[in-house]
Amino acid sequence: MATTVTERAPGTRRGAGGVGESVPRVDAVPKVTGTFEYASDLRAEGMLFGAVLRSPHASARILGVDATAAAALPGVHAVLLAADLPGKRTFGLNFDDQPVLADGLVRYHGEPVAVVAADTPALAHRAAGLIAVDWAPLPAVTDMEAALAADAPRLFDFGNVLRHVHIVHGSPEQATADVWVEGYYETGMQDQAPLGPEAGLAIPAADGGIDLFVATQWLHVDREQIAPCLNLPLEKVRISLAGVGGAFGAREDIHMQIHASLLALRTGRPVKMSFGREESFLGHVHRHPARIWLRHGANRDGMLVAVDARLLFDGGAYSSSSPAVVGNAATFAAGPYEVPNVRIEGTLVFTNNPPCGAMRGFGAPQVCFAHEAQMDKLAAVLGMDPVDLRLRNAMHTGSVLPTGQVLTGSAPVRELIELCAQAPLPEPEPADGRDQLRYPGGTGNVTRGEGLRTGVGYAVGFKNTAFSEGFDDAAAARVTLRLTDGVPVAEIHTAAVEMGQGLTTVLAQIARTELGLHEVTLRTADTSAGNAGSTSASRQSMMAGGAVQLACHQVRDRLAERASDRILGGGETLPGPVELHDGLLFADGEPVAGLADLLTEPVAETAVYHHRPTAGFDEHGQGDVHVTFTFAAERAVVEVDTELGMVRVLHVTAAIDAGKVLNPVGFEGQIEGGTAQGLGFALMEELQAENGTVRNPSFTDYLIPTFLDMPPVDTRAVEEPDPGVPYGLKGIGEAPSIVSTAAIVAALRDATGRELNRAPVTPDDLIGLRGPRPTSGPPPVPDVPGQWPVPYYHNRSSTQQGLM
């Protein structure tokens, strides 16, 4: 479907609230006054509360379930087990392998077994606790390398390999280089930890359907999974977006939607489910832990000759969006550098660990951590400055990826690196006499400057925007222009999810710019609008933004027709170009009509925006797999108490390939926030599972950075427009998360001289109490039928058209 989109916004008066301005958020007032309604704030007359009974075991058979005591409790209205499910019994983003309720077998700690509806949350939880389950624990496979062994317990009949991606470019077997550097790297399980835990309200409808109000990331894909499980046609499942308290990937998968709907349909009453923090940790997917083996070959002049990468990702118990995560990670494993000879083998396995899926960065942070460590190692071996080495090899427009895809868009990698390198370093502080809070260890009073060393580290990385491997994740938007009290007002209606990143504000800015007006309203996102695709993959500014822009152009064209009819009579058209600004319609530079005059009747237009098509991997991993790319670089400055292993991150400079900054304050907020999550991943964030059992599902022991952990972040944007994309913009939401962890750990290595091959880094690592994690070498490449996920070759139904 051909689309034409203008890349540069037509002129608007400064201060008009359009694209490029730091417009305050459209939802700011309700959020600061506490009136913004999040999913957990929803209420309905007569509502019941739902609770879930979850497996305490990572792997077990269910020999029997006795729910009599639970059902008999006064105030309990329904208890549902797998046997009570009315429709399809499984769901999933790629493959429907995940049970709505476990049926005879559980594969992870926290897997739902039963649901209860009761008069109060306390009653519902108490009833869930009264359900007696006869468990027979099974051997669990909880190590990703062990999962590859022939005799490992199998999670599914086709084995434990969900996908293996094989990429060969150039002649890696024959490549010769002056120096070779090998490295082994590990990353742990990070959690999105959005402040707002999962919640939603399901209301049974008179037509036998369900109205669902939920905090989620993709309304339409939720509906596609929910409806069959309720044994309902799609049109009887209506979803509206409730206020989202952050997501970062945690809400791409179904969490409470099917459960609440089942209970609502069973009881005939509205059912609300609202997770506490512990249940939230157990109830959503996490970032894939990874093990990465890299071998880099370069010549004395610093030019990279070859990269050999072996990736192993732990997908946990169900497939979620894992197939796309490993595909992504594989394409970015060599980093944003020109490498003529590449071999990448990326494996994703099932284990009885908690299921992993989308988290900001989607596989790129893990490989960036590894490839940037390699670049620093290479620089050291070559006796070269690490910045210089990166500059020499940096990709640019026209470079070729390991997949053979040519970078046709903007790729200002050198500029990003130079911005970081040239930014002034923070003023050195004397070691003694500081305010306590300016030492590593913060309020703990652990130092007066003893053993402090400073370090500087760099990282460069990149990632795709929008979905890949042939997926046509189009976005629809409807724009209605009408007069309200004599003033033209544009109403935008999309299913695109606002989860805090500032999308709705940006969409309003686009409408203002394209329609030349100021007043814009946004209808609640719901399934009566067309599919907008996922709010993920940094895609919505481009996709929903592109759809809004297209719809606005269609509105403009309708207005031009009305103006033509009125001024010229039937049959003739106004001279072009037709533009809208300052409330007027201009034809060929001349104002010909006021908007208000043309809106005796509203104009409503729907548009669907498609990105350029992509392809799958061929048998060598070659193909134009991605739509477009965003690059990022960060430089971190840290101070380490080398005797105690306490860290203070002093400063971060972030240089982002933004294409076009749509809202400068919003853009900075995204970069600062993404950097904070990367800092957490570098220093403190790990969901610890021991034999598959999560040991720290709380904010007491899963630590995210506080005010005293975050430094100032100096954000710079490079605005080199990406051709063929609305406003030339780039999706920037994930950019900071890709590079921040790698930059901070690089700085820690510089400060301590330690190898630090794992994220998150612990104090034990920093003081040398624990050395780099060892490896006995990369596991053998599994034997798989092809590049697609293995279940595909076993005729397992894929929920979606192609991959995510």
């Binding site: 730091s22 305050p24 958020r25 939802d27 700011a28 007032v29 959020k31 600061v32 006054t33 506490g34 009136t35 913004f36 309604e37 999040y38 957990s40 704030d41 930890a193 959005p194 402040l195 707002g196 835990p197 206020g243 989202v244 308290g245 952050g246 970062f248 506490g276 923090r277 305010d435 809070l437 300016r438 913060g442 309020t443 989860m499 805090g500 990143q501 500032g502 304050v665 919003g666 900075e668 907020g669 995204q670 970069i671 600062e672 926030g673 993404g674 950097t675 904070a676 999550q677 709380s698 904010f699 007491t700 995210i704 506080t706 005010f707 005293l708 975050m710 100032p712 972040v713």
Partner: protein
């Protein structure tokens, strides 16, 4: 038990309050003031911050009964309806709000800080707000908002 307390200046009476019910639960579920948020229910995140007799506390860690005959102020009570207090306005102007789930608790905490320390330094801000977690912003713009609010209240000077 029957509980009497004042919330945002209004006397309230609530029946059938459980002995182990928290003030957070009372505010959200019984009185219907949903602005105060539940993000961890163990005092780690500050999203449930309110004033209890003028003192900043985590309402998830106060028993409803402990608030009997006391004065509670929530985010909804900081400014008359339809208006914004200087802290709320500063949060908007500085771009300190993203998903907003932490915002009510932070607005209370910043309000408390500025009343006690009219022109706080960055260090004072960071220490005072260390009990309020935010996952979206990286904290920088919230610090900017504090300085802006301090200036707006006529206390601050440019630069930190």
């Amino acid at each position: 038990m029957r509980l009497h307390l004042t919330v945002n200046g209004e006397p309230r009476a609530v029946d059938d309050v459980g002995a182990d019910e928290s003030l957070l639960s009372l505010l959200r579920d019984r009185i219907g003031l949903a602005g105060t948020k539940n993000a961890c229910e163990q005092g780690e995140c500050g999203s449930c911050s309110v004033y209890l007799d003028g003192t900043l506390v985590c309402s998830c860690l106060v028993l409803a009964g402990q608030a009997a005959d006391r004065d509670v102020v929530t985010v909804e009570g900081l400014a008359p309806p339809g208006t914004l207090d200087p802290v709320q306005q500063a949060f908007i102007s500085a771009g300190a709000v993203q998903c907003g789930f932490c915002t009510p608790g932070l607005v209370l905490a910043v309000d408390d800080l500025i009343r006690r320390v009219p022109d706080p330094s960055d260090e004072q801000i960071r220490e005072a707000l260390a009990g309020n977690l935010c996952r979206c912003t990286g904290y920088q713009k919230i610090i900017d908002a504090v300085h802006l609010a301090a200036e707006g209240a006529g206390n601050g000077h440019h630069g930190h």
